[in-house]
């Protein structure tokens, strides 16, 4: 019986220590989660700003004059043709897909 009591006591102390360390581990993990969450919020904010900047840089009002300076212009009707005609071209004249 005494042995059992001793074992129970040891088990209680061990459990208390385990609980104590678990508590601290949980807090550490929580702090880690908060850091990650803050990083995610910051990343989302940065993405929003980058998206806005990309939208601003690619706005047609800016691209249009640059394209014209480079000698580009809206396509003329005679520069367009239907797909079936294009596929009739010999393979060496066909544009690679995705180009």
């Amino acid at each position: 019986m005494r042995l059992m009591n001793l074992a129970a006591f040891c088990f209680t102390v061990a459990s208390a220590l385990l609980l104590y360390s678990l508590n601290y581990e949980t807090r550490r993990l929580e702090a880690g989660v908060q850091v990650q969450e803050r990083a995610a919020v910051k990343a989302r904010s940065d993405i929003a700003i980058l998206k806005a900047e990309r939208g601003h840089l690619s706005r047609p009002e800016r691209i249009d004059p640059i394209a014209r300076q480079l000698g580009l212009m809206p396509p003329r009707p005679d520069q367009l043709t239907i797909t079936s005609d294009v596929s009739a071209l010999p393979p060496e004249h066909r544009m690679a897909e995705g180009e």
Binding site: E61, P75, D78
Partner: protein, 559 residues
């Protein structure tokens, strides 16, 4: 003596033995129950913690917490960004810890010259206040300059701010938000009312799906650019235009010049800055003949070949209605359209009578208030009585003022096969929506498409300058006297062109309006729509047709 005492050696005494044996189980039970209780408490606490989760920590602060709204992004039909929320610094002051108020005001005015000096001075004088907004939504560069001043009592807080990456493109449609990021006009207000925004106390970007508009950024830019050119070329006081998909009702572009910047909304009541596409009503002139002639076809009163003697002017009360370019011979209904004969349109309206005319316009939705996602369209101004004079004037687009968007939506039904089309600023899903409501017969729609094309192809047609080889453009001009103070201005007109393409299977409708254009050397001194609005439409269609995927036909086949 020894024999007299019968005690067995080695055995405990009976009294001591019985006390110990009685106490031992009690102590053991107490220890055991104490241990069980301790473990039970720990277990229940663990269980409790595990099940209840972490409670939110609430911190009460003495200063007012700024409530802002996080909004979903707005994108065009192809996913290009039109509006988004970004994090920006906002400047506030704590008057209680400001040491030298005058210094703060003096230095801040240098960086923010548009601050009201007296107001700021007064706000900072109240030492009981612990929180005073100075400027919300600063640029990072300005915030750094203020930070570098090193003034105690000034701090920054991050807030959400609406950004419009495309600048003032489609500014009238997008609308605006207030300082709290709440929608106050246009699509922004629609988002608040119908889609929803989230009240936030910190910088939290919206997780809602973006709002996909029907607008096409490329088409919108082409329209605004061509209108800009037209304003300069014809010295107009303003311009407006729109591009509609007449099958789905989607508005692909809508512009009104001068533009407004959604990022810097002005509390201006300047009528020049009004959205002329849906915020104002105008007498549109001869483009209205499209409706009059469609009514005559649909009611079975005429066919394109029906001849009418238009040589004699029409009498309407005190007024005499005559043609701008009298033909001097009877004209067919098709010629009435291509010559834009007021007398011919008036005769067709008289033939139909006021009831049929009113019913037809009502059917096309031109007598009721129209609503879109960007807000209510200005209510049409209709004649009080529909007598002979009103009937004749309405037939060629005077005496009835309507918003250009509403007119275009009504006219679209004449070219899409004859079904009702409700204009929308949101991208529609294919196959979704109510069953098409028939307004005119398919035959009327085909006849109108032929007339539209004829007016551009014919050497005498008023719309010939709108032609774009390969894209089968059709259309009708309108040159209306500008209404002013109960009468009409002597030399001011609104010239417009209602166009559609490709006319073999009409899909897109354009409407271009130029306000008070001047005669130039290019137009031969003329201000009529055939010399200005028609070529603007031609240039516009040549730019947007390929963007919209319209297949050009061999040029010879389209003539």
């Amino acid at each position: 003596m020894r024999a007299g005492v019968s005690i067995t050696p080695g055995l405990p005494r009976p009294a001591r033995l019985s006390t110990r044996t009685r106490r031992a189980p009690l102590v053991n039970a107490m220890l055991l129950s104490g241990t069980v209780l301790a473990f039970g408490t720990v277990a229940s606490q663990l269980l409790n913690l595990g099940l209840s989760g972490q409670q939110q920590i609430t911190i009460a602060v003495s200063e007012p917490v700024a409530t802002s709204f996080s909004r979903p992004d707005i994108i065009d039909r192809n996913g290009r960004l039109l509006a988004t929320d970004v994090e920006v610094p906002s400047l506030f002051a704590d008057p209680a810890i400001i040491i030298d108020r005058d210094e703060v005001v003096e230095k801040l005015i240098i960086v923010l010259p548009d601050l009201d000096q007296n107001e700021l001075h007064q706000a900072l004088s109240d030492k009981l206040r612990r929180f005073v907004w100075i400027r919300r939504g600063l640029s990072p560069k300005l915030a750094q300059r203020i930070h570098d001043l090193g003034l105690p009592g000034l701090s920054f807080r991050s807030e959400l701010r609406r950004a419009y990456p495309a600048g003032d493109l489609a500014g009238h449609v997008l609308g605006s938000v207030n300082v709290d990021n709440k929608g106050t006009a246009g699509i922004e207000k629609y988002i608040d009312d119908q889609i929803g925004v989230d009240a936030v106390h910190s910088v939290t970007l919206s997780t809602r799906a973006p709002v996909r508009l029907s607008l096409d950024l490329g088409v919108q830019h082409s329209l605004e650019d061509e209108l800009d050119t037209a304003v300069r070329r014809y010295h107009t006081r303003g311009a407006a235009g729109l591009v509609l998909d007449i099958k789905t009702g989607e508005i692909l572009a809508s512009a009104s010049l001068p533009r407004v910047d959604p990022g810097r909304p002005l509390p201006s009541t300047d009528p020049l800055l009004l959205d002329k596409v849906s915020g104002g009503t105008f007498e549109l002139g001869s483009v209205f003949k499209t409706l009059t002639i469609a009514m005559a076809f649909d009611e079975g009163l005429a066919v394109p070949g029906t001849m009418l003697d238009v040589r004699a002017p029409l009498q309407a009360g005190r007024h005499t209605i005559s043609d701008f370019h009298p033909a001097g011979r009877p004209l067919s209904v098709a010629e009435i359209f291509t010559h834009s004969s007021n007398v011919g349109a008036g005769m067709l309206a008289l033939q139909a009578g006021p009831e049929k005319m009113k019913a037809f316009l009502g059917k096309l939705g031109l007598l009721q208030t129209l609503k879109t996602e960007a807000g209510a369209v200005s209510t049409p101004q209709t004649p009080e009585r529909w007598e002979r004079a009103e009937l004749i004037t309405v037939s060629y687009g005077h005496g009835l003022a309507v918003a250009p968007l509403q007119f275009a939506a009504g006219a679209a039904a004449l070219f899409n096969g004859g079904t009702r089309m409700t204009p929308t600023f949101l991208k529609s899903q294919p196959g979704v929506g109510p069953a098409a409501d028939r307004l005119v017969t398919p035959e009327t729609s085909r006849q109108m498409a032929r007339l539209f094309r004829l007016n551009v192809m014919d050497a005498d047609g008023t719309g010939k300058r709108a032609d774009v080889p390969g894209y089968r453009v059709g259309g009708k001009t309108g040159t209306a006297d500008l209404a002013s103070g109960g009468g009409y201005e002597a030399k001011a007109v609104i010239s417009s062109f209602l166009g559609a393409f490709p006319m073999d299977e009409p899909r897109y409708l354009t409407f271009v309006l130029l306000f008070e254009p001047k005669g130039t050397a290019e137009t031969g001194g003329q201000r009529t729509a055939s010399t200005n609005a028609a070529p603007v439409t031609g240039r516009l269609i040549s730019r947007i047709a390929s963007q919209l995927g319209v297949q050009p036909l061999a040029i010879a086949a389209t003539q």
